[in-house]
Subunit: 491 residues, 2 copies
């Protein structure tokens, strides 16, 4: 297949939009802002889900499911939450359609108006905490460690596949604890789980940190986050974990009896990652030839393409390939043997390059004669001839080496794109000319943060967890600052 993919250097944004569609990951639907996740894209998301779900369960969490709809009044119960979330959302006002009087279509039945409107969940804190009131009576019921895999809807005006869609898929963890310390430890733990998943499964390096007050989740006392850096120098928030204090417990009156018999409000966290991770995955590794996928998340890890003339030769090749397919599957490697006779090898090579299959094995008459395979790795595009006796161990090596190599490449890109600046002028010129994270002193005020955002479109991505104490002066106001924060333009 011909790729006709825009080059990243020509138009990064266009490259991304084209790649998502051409690699069969997702496409826009007939419903404004809602995407269709195609089978190949969904297979990657399923692997992400499986990896995360295992980590959630290993840290003691259980899955449950809460209603799609939230009564409008619930949203008003936590004051800052409603400000942040209740505005742009899908509102259900009626529960019935009827045939139109002209008989040509259907219309909303005005008699079927809901007494109270229902909101399609933009996030589920309110409906979940309304439920937790019934589940939590005593310290014996705590901690309550629950996760939900669900769809949510936020009526975004400008949407982009995976990065910002009206409906998206995510998981949301909602936990309840007896003490403040335990809730904070949980929120930090989940940030660490997200970071580990991102780095070890997605091969996407991230910086762990906390958000500034203005960037915090609506209703949180602290938001922990992981921030990744895309190849165009823009940051992407890949996951957040919130310490919610007692805000939701108070709003929904969730108290527990302590061991001593007192009644206290419980402490809460929530945390989530979404199909946005797909955007981070695509933009971190892919190149002008198409997707580059880490072996751990690739739906097809190895593709085998026969190069043949005539069915007799194909049969000879297949006789050799079938045991290889079995041997690789035995090792837990997912293999596709593409013996379609409707497409030429060149078409297939392009297709699997575009789809980011980590390893391609080609085999033709010469390989049969020599007892070899031609092995190509997607990340570096390097090819080599491998003896048949070594092919399984070679593929096993490549599964690990590609995972490591693309992670290392992303780490190096990021290291080269974290720039320390002293002055606001320097900040502005780096932002325009180089991009990436900019490490700078900031006076801690909302005003300065707001001014920088208005003037440059850069935001404070996070206050890194491991930032060292360093006396300095805010690059804008000159006021004292005790440590640097990371700025960037962001998705």
């Amino acid at each position: 297949m011909a790729k006709n993919l825009t080059k990243r250097s020509d138009d990064y944004s266009k490259w991304y939009n084209e790649l998502v569609v051409k690699a069969d990951l997702a496409e826009n639907s007939g419903v404004r802002g809602c995407m269709v996740i195609k089978p190949y894209g969904f297979a990657i998301w399923e692997k992400m889900q499986a990896g995360l779900d295992k980590m959630f369960k290993e840290t003691g969490h259980e899955n449950a499911y809460f209603p799609l709809f939230i009564p409008k009044s619930y949203l008003s119960k936590e004051a800052s939450h409603v400000e942040g979330f209740a505005k742009e959302c899908a509102v259900v006002t009626h529960y019935r359609l009827k045939n139109s009087e002209d008989g040509k279509g259907i219309v909303v039945d005005p008699d079927a108006k809901l007494e109270e409107e229902l909101i399609v969940r933009p996030t589920s804190e309110t409906i979940i905490w309304d439920t937790y009131r019934k589940w939590i009576q005593s310290y014996r019921d705590l901690p309550l460690l629950i996760n939900q895999w669900a769809n949510v809807v936020r009526w975004e005006m400008r949407t982009r596949l995976f990065l910002r869609t009206a409906e998206f898929l995510w998981q949301e963890g909602h936990t309840a604890h007896a003490t403040e310390d335990e809730a904070i430890a949980e929120a930090k733990q989940m940030m660490n789980v997200y970071a580990e998943f991102s780095e070890e499964h997605m091969a996407v390096p991230v910086i762990k940190g906390t958000k500034t007050e203005t960037e915090r989740f609506a209703g949180a006392l602290e938001t922990y986050c992981i921030e990744a850096l895309m190849q165009d120098g823009k940051a992407l928030q890949a996951g957040t974990s919130h310490f919610l204090g007692q805000n939701f417990a108070k709003a929904f009156d969730v108290k527990f009896a302590t061991k001593e018999g007192n009644k206290e409000y419980v402490w809460a966290t929530s945390w989530g990652v979404s199909t946005r991770l797909m955007g981070a995955l695509i933009m971190t590794h892919s190149d002008d030839n198409g997707l580059v996928l880490p072996p751990k998340l690739a739906p097809i890890q190895v593709v085998i393409v026969p190069i043949y003339k005539g069915l007799e030769q194909l049969q000879m090749i297949s006789d050799k390939i079938n045991p290889l397919v079995a041997a690789l599957r035995e090792k837990g490697i997912s293999v596709k043997y593409d013996d379609r006779d409707t497409q030429k090898p060149g078409f297939k090579f392009n297709e699997y390059e575009l789809k980011g299959v980590p390893v391609r094995i080609a085999v033709g008459q010469r390989d049969l004669d020599n007892g070899t395979y031609e092995v190509a790795r997607r990340d570096t595009l390097e090819k080599e001839v491998v003896p048949a006796t070594e092919i399984v161990s070679k593929v096993e090596f490549l599964m690990e080496d590609i995972q490591r190599t693309i992670y290392q490449k992303a780490v190096e890109y990021r290291s080269a794109h974290i720039t320390e600046v002293q002055t606001y002028d320097e900040f502005k010129s780096i932002l325009e000319e180089k991009g990436g994270f900019i490490s700078a002193h900031w006076d801690g005020s909302n005003e300065t943060e707001e001014r920088i955002k208005n003037e440059t479109k850069a935001t404070i991505r996070c206050i890194p967890i491991d930032a060292k104490l360093e006396e300095g002066r805010c690059m804008v106001s000159g006021k004292p600052s005790s440590r640097r924060v990371l700025f960037a333009k962001a998705y």
Copy 2:
């Protein structure tokens, strides 16, 4: 814990409602008709999903995800579909809320009215076939074998946990084929997959058949189904698979180029099972003591309860139990060792009985002295003392034996509750006095079917696939009939 569970013989319906809540499976939420699936219930559903998903993939299907919302106009495109589905549903009319003028709450922003209303999907044929038009051009694109795991909403007036809820979770397969025969074979295959899952994983015997015209899915030419029988003698439709002909292809203009270069409409199927399966599972096996779960779907397969006085004795028991837990897990058996000191053994016994844990192992001082365990199986409530050397193999045996035993028990119950009748009077008296499936001759007319339904509330559950040809006369009209069909009152 005290169970206080209503007896089945006193009030089957009340027994079910109480059991679902007391066994921590699900509960009603603050949103009319929408349930909360609690962690224990969701863990069972996850096992069902995993089992089904594996079977779908083994039969060549891939997962994808389509939008939650369906534009109102899409529903009108397939005439019989809109009649069956478009009426009782959640309608999104606005996309924004705003602060009310009195500042005390939020109201729907009248300026944010959608040009076209969006329907929360009651099923996804229309949005999916609108997408398939873009995906299918040539015979090379067929068959298209796609499944989606999703939530759907149907505005039911009378709801019951799992059995009938406004929002429920399900999977919906939607396939496209080049020929009629292939589509029919697919629809039958999925009925068989559902039957196999139901019998082998859920231990719920089912009858395979086709629906009558009036009971068919809106838009289908044939509906294949599996029908189970509950302990109160009522039937439950556990899964359906539809041959849709070319109806949706025509409604959404989905044509493909054949090998010969002609343009033809594609042939379609759709098939689904939902969280309703949880209802079938609960009602098939459970008893007056609580849930009875098949080992293959039990979140906890074995619970171990120590019986001790003082921490020293607990420690001795734990030293013996920990290696047993490891040995059972090694065999792939999920084990919980409940050493909570906040509850007495009797409380724990009741709790795990209520929750249907298949095997309970108790161990006290005497067992330590004798090198034995007390093993209780949930299905028969039988207890026996097992030597330590045999405990692992005993548990392995019980995993298989309980699965087999409860299936066999359900088969026997069903066999005893399929009654052949010759006359309508006999039919009515069996229906009232005994219940179950009634096998009778029917003249094939909608009128007779409707009359029976109105007069007795019994419906034709299916025309069994394996019904033998048998000359007879309709029990109501006396007209000729060539085979018996199965009637029952149903959930």
